[in-house]
């Protein structure tokens, strides 16, 4: 058996393991259910003619809406348990006492968890497209949906790897989840405060800090990509073209931020895993 086969065996196993966890499964179901929410609300509301143009971009709203919140939590949920739960349940021993390299195990875990997340994101994006066509008619710029989808799963690497790292470092899934989601929520809250501070003082410095918060690139990249690809040619009312982007920046800045926030935790997770003992519930 070669390295790739062993990695794929662990990746398949990780899919099953993650989906066997009720909280992950329920959150995925909840996210997919929540996908219906904006469509139900918007079809019930009398939409003024001035913003009817939005009707033809509902696929984008439906794709980005779950990413802003639900998908980040799913990413954290899946990744915090990837290694931590194996220690908690004492199951890591039975795999790592087999002929498999630790790197293969960890890469398999990462690929398994991340591909499950990507599949969930794909389901929400596909559902958004189907619902948009069926409730709001023909959609514009739908050919860019794959690019938006890729930007979403790439942007989600920030909190996925953060969860992966905290899971391996703390080896307690609940603590890892708490820390990762606190970082996510704290940076969500901190952003507007720093923006306000910048507006009040006129200091650019506060905006620079916002751009280096973990969620800035992670939350804004899909909309920034949409703007670069097609939204700049669309006249949207009420500043909807800036939807969700409180502090502007370039795509390159977003990519850099995401890459740093993804690579550093991965390196920490690998170093920790490769240098530590495989902990177990029972050992004497």
């Amino acid at each position: 058996m070669n390295d790739i086969q062993r990695i794929l065996t662990i990746a398949r196993y990780e899919w099953r393991r993650a989906l066997a966890r009720r909280k992950v499964f329920l959150l995925i179901v909840l996210t997919i259910t929540a996908e219906f929410l904006p469509f139900i609300v918007l079809t019930q509301l009398p939409i003024p003619p001035a913003i009817r143009i939005v009707n033809s971009l509902m696929w984008l709203v439906g794709t980005i809406f779950p990413h802003a919140l639900f998908l980040q939590f799913i990413a954290i949920f899946i990744s915090t348990g990837a290694t931590a739960e194996e220690y908690e349940q004492g199951t890591a021993d039975s795999i790592l006492s087999k002929p498999i390299r630790r790197t293969e195990y960890l890469i398999g875990k990462f690929i398994g968890g991340y591909s499950l997340f990507a599949f969930t994101a794909f389901l929400t994006s596909a559902l958004a497209m189907i619902l948009s066509y069926s409730t709001f008619g023909p959609q514009e710029f739908a050919e860019f949906a794959p690019a938006i989808y890729i930007s979403i799963i790439f942007a989600s690497l920030v909190f996925f790897t953060m969860g992966f790292m905290t899971g391996e470092v703390f080896r307690t899934s609940s603590l890892a989840y708490l820390v990762s989601s606190t970082v996510f929520i704290a940076s969500l809250i901190l952003g507007p405060f720093l923006l306000l501070a910048s507006n009040l003082t006129g200091e650019q410095f506060y905006l620079d800090i916002v751009r280096w918060l973990p969620n800035w690139g992670a939350s804004n990249l899909p909309m920034m990509v949409a703007r670069a690809l097609f939204l700049q040619n669309v006249r949207l009312p009420f500043g909807l073209g800036d939807f969700g982007i409180a502090v502007n920046g370039t795509i390159l800045q977003a990519l850099t931020s995401i890459s740093i926030y993804a690579i550093v935790p991965m390196v920490i997770a690998f170093l920790r895993f490769l240098r530590s003992d495989v902990t177990n519930k029972s050992s004497t």
């Binding site: 062993r6 349940q89 021993d93 039975s94 006492s97 002929p99 498999i100 630790r102 495989v278 177990n280």
Partner: protein
């Protein structure tokens, strides 16, 4: 150590957990084709040592080799021919027994039809083929233990490491698995078994090693160990009446090493390697003793174990 003859060689393994808890230095050599019983009281460091051997725990000092390969450096080749059944095994409860073995076989690189054949055969061998498609979460402790043994055998290993393999099994299953391990051994395989069941170890093992307070106290051929700790043969004598004069007379016989009195019995330890029941019976009758019965009591592993615990207190 010569990998041609040595299955496991661990040298000077040290693991410190805190200023008060440490294992080692532990050195261990398990020769190919032996059944090595790894003994020690609770908390002595048996499981930690086994996990260091497998590369699950990194020792601060020392190194370990399986068939001449360090599992921390090359786990693929070191563990390829190893089967491991951990103490109180934990498996993913969403798996069925069949799925778990299939997953393990895949990691070992066993493909297609061969995998299916092995899974089926092993489930039958450990007696849980009727539960092949039942979720492990619904298994009893004994069934999980059987499944753990099956998992350890999926790759037809040359070395099988079992940490308390019969915990949770009923007596019938214990006897069945003892016979199974003997059969596996007869095929030239090496087995390392850690157990608290000393009579089981004595019946099964060809070699033993004992760890106490994180250090190896002894290891070697089981016969040599028993001879070393047994201090000769013991004869249990049942008497009609025990008098101080008779006890004093027996104690002074030239072949008697030790004597213990217990209500109507005396336990006489005699010179090494000689069955002196006839001489002792004759001397007791000569001294006026009323002899009711006499039997030879061989030194057991339990005697050696207890003797070791006595002679190695923690503060030593």
């Amino acid at each position: 150590m010569n990998p041609e003859v040595t299955a496991i060689s661990a040298s000077n393994l040290v693991k410190n957990y805190s200023s008060t808890t440490s294992i080692g230095p532990v050195s261990l050599a398990v020769e190919k084709g032996t059944i090595f019983g790894f003994l020690g009281p609770n908390g002595a460091g048996k499981t930690t040592t086994i996990r260091m051997i497998l590369g699950l725990i990194r020792p601060q000092r020392g190194n370990t080799q399986i068939f001449g390969i360090d599992p921390l450096i090359d786990p693929i080749n070191a563990l390829e021919k190893v089967g491991y059944a951990p103490e109180l095994p934990n498996f993913q409860t969403f798996f069925t027994a069949e799925e778990l073995l299939d997953f393990t076989a895949r990691i070992h690189g066993i493909n297609g039809a061969e995998r299916n054949r092995k899974v089926k055969k092993l489930l039958e061998m450990v007696g849980i083929s009727d539960h092949a498609r039942k979720k492990i979460g619904k298994f009893s402790k004994g069934m999980v233990q059987r499944l753990s043994v099956a998992q350890a055998l999926i790759n037809d290993p040359e070395l099988i490491i079992m940490d308390e393999p019969t915990i949770g099994m009923d007596p019938v299953a214990t006897i069945y698995f003892r016979d199974l391990f003997k059969e596996i051994h007869s095929q030239g395989k090496t087995i390392l078994v850690s157990s608290h069941m000393l009579d089981e170890v004595q019946r099964l093992c060809t070699h033993i090693g004992m760890i106490h307070h994180g250090k190896m106290v002894f290891q070697g051929n089981i016969t040599d160990i028993l001879a070393r700790f047994g201090k000769g043969l013991a004869i249990e004598v049942e008497l009609g009446q025990i008098t101080p004069a008779l006890v004093d007379y027996v104690r002074k016989l030239d072949y008697v090493r030790n004597l213990q009195v217990d209500t109507n019995k005396i336990l006489v330890t005699v010179r090494d390697g000689e069955d002196l029941r006839a001489e002792l019976a004759e001397d007791i009758v000569k001294a006026g003793g009323k002899l009711l019965g006499l039997s030879l009591k061989k030194t057991t592993l339990e005697d050696a174990f207890i003797e070791t615990l006595r002679s190695n207190p923690k503060n030593e």
